[in-house]
Symmetry: C2
Subunit: 283 residues, 2 copies
DNA sequence: CTATGCATGTCGATA
DNA sequence: TATCGACGTGCATAG
């Protein structure tokens, strides 16, 4: 009797992980329009960024309405559901739709590619009809870079709170964004002689509107404190001629201050804080 | 003696015109950085539109200043000398420079591509440093399409000039953009009872500022014509609650009018004019 | 939603 | 160039 054959099967699974290099730019031009439609729908569903370059016309209906005849343009769909149509010139898009749009991609008359971006509120529609698409691609961009802006009005506010002498010696700031009837006072303080001071900040040349704004706040504070003297100071890098006239008429004051100088002050302040940290904590 | 040889040379020039198909999109990625530099310079000199997609950081110094750390973005250079840097989200570019910039393309540290956009006035600089360029292309777009926008404030003005009864029966418009002390009166007319009428137009919900503006104009006209009654009418699709209160306090009036209805009136007007042309001229 | 004010606002017209 | 006002302003924030 032949010995029983013992077969043992050992199953070995080999797991292969396909590590492909990430392709941030995938070109999908040179395809049949119908293929392109499904590619675009696929990309949009996955909230990819999409570029389209081609011959198109654009219609917009919403708060206003507009038409744009056929021409060659760049269309950008972004991950946040915004869209923009760029002509070869102008920094601003000729048509656009803000974030959170719903995109529809369709083939119309079997030979035109239509991108429709619908915004819910206010109800607005942008229709792009491509007669020809020269190029299109799906982008998979990773952007975690921090964006920092300096010399904003907010920087001016913080700088003056830290260094009130940027405006005037002896000034003490007692509140910021102080709510009053018509809005909020940028900065509010008391001067060396005990007078209330209303500060209105502008990061660029102050115009008449800035003066009107300041005046409203000063009047409100005067109404609240009939027995205190109240000063109104417009703080800006410059003031227009008309605004200066109005300012003088209303017995308000102007203090020239460059927002960049404020950014400088803040930068120095940050360094000081870091140095203090270093000597106190790290040593 | 052998006969003299007479050689005659006739030069025939054959002119060959190389008619190549226009290529609106030329991709210049996958090149050595140094090659790319010269390609980009070449394109920029010829005022071509350029797209760049890659890993970059951005610095801006000018009216304000900003920094943006490394991340993957789309950069667009346009034919008018404007530039914009787009993140994968936001309809607005994170950094930009308006038209008429001067562009510089350089290789820095032998391995980074730098695009520098310089604006003359105000003096501003945007620096883009590419660590990596995934894709770049030169676009040669032709865009002669006419852009038309309807339902703007200007449309409202024209519609009311043609059809004053959009505001009120018996109103006659006597001037537009009438210059007065603080600015320009949108529309100025006389009502059925011979009173002066100052019209302030807004294409969207009117706020307090609109009322302040109207009030200033009305006061100026009253000053000029102390013996005439003067009305001030705010014409807008809607008015904010605060603005309505202020309006009543100042004894001004509000006339609801939709800019789209104005666009409609104009469209009808244009059709009529065309019909008139047809019957008078073309027949 | 409405109201308010900033923005590297942009853009165009005008003095 | 400086000023002024409109804009599909956009955008954030507060109530």
């Amino acid at each position: 009797m032949p010995p029983a054959l013992n077969y043992r099967f050992q199953l070995i699974f080999i797991v292969v992980e396909l590590v492909d290099e990430r392709r941030p730019v995938r070109i999908i031009s040179d395809r049949q329009l119908s293929e392109m439609v499904s590619d675009l729908r696929h990309a949009i569903e996955r909230r990819k960024m999409v570029l389209l370059i081609g011959l198109c016309k654009v219609d917009y209906r919403g708060r206003a309405s507009s038409t744009l005849d056929y021409g060659e343009r760049l269309v950008i769909l972004k991950t946040d559901g915004s869209i923009q149509i760029h002509r070869p010139w102008d920094v601003n898009p000729v048509n656009w739709q803000p974030p959170d749009c719903i995109f529809h991609v369709d083939l119309v008359d079997n030979s035109f590619l239509r991108i429709r971006a619908i915004r819910k509120s206010p109800r607005e529609i942008v229709d792009i009809i491509f007669k020809e698409v020269y190029f299109s691609s799906v982008l998979d961009l990773v952007d975690k870079g921090v964006f920092s802006l300096y010399a904003s009005e907010h920087d001016m506010q913080r700088a003056i709170m830290i260094n009130p002498e940027l405006v005037e010696d002896g000034l003490r700031i007692i509140s910021y964004e102080k709510p009053v009837e018509p809005g909020f006072i940028d900065l509010y303080g008391i001067d060396s002689k005990g007078r209330f001071v209303v500060l209105e900040l502008k990061r660029r040349v102050a115009d008449r509107d800035a003066i009107v704004q300041l005046s409203r706040y000063v009047e409100e504070i005067k109404r609240r404190s009939p027995y205190r003297e109240v000063r109104g100071i417009l703080v800006a890098p410059d003031i227009s001629r008309n605004a200066l006239t109005l300012l003088k008429t209303l017995h308000l004051e102007f203090k020239r201050l460059d927002p960049k100088k404020c950014a400088e002050v803040l930068r120095r302040k940050v360094s000081e804080v870091k140095l203090t940290d270093f000597f106190r904590g790290k040593q």
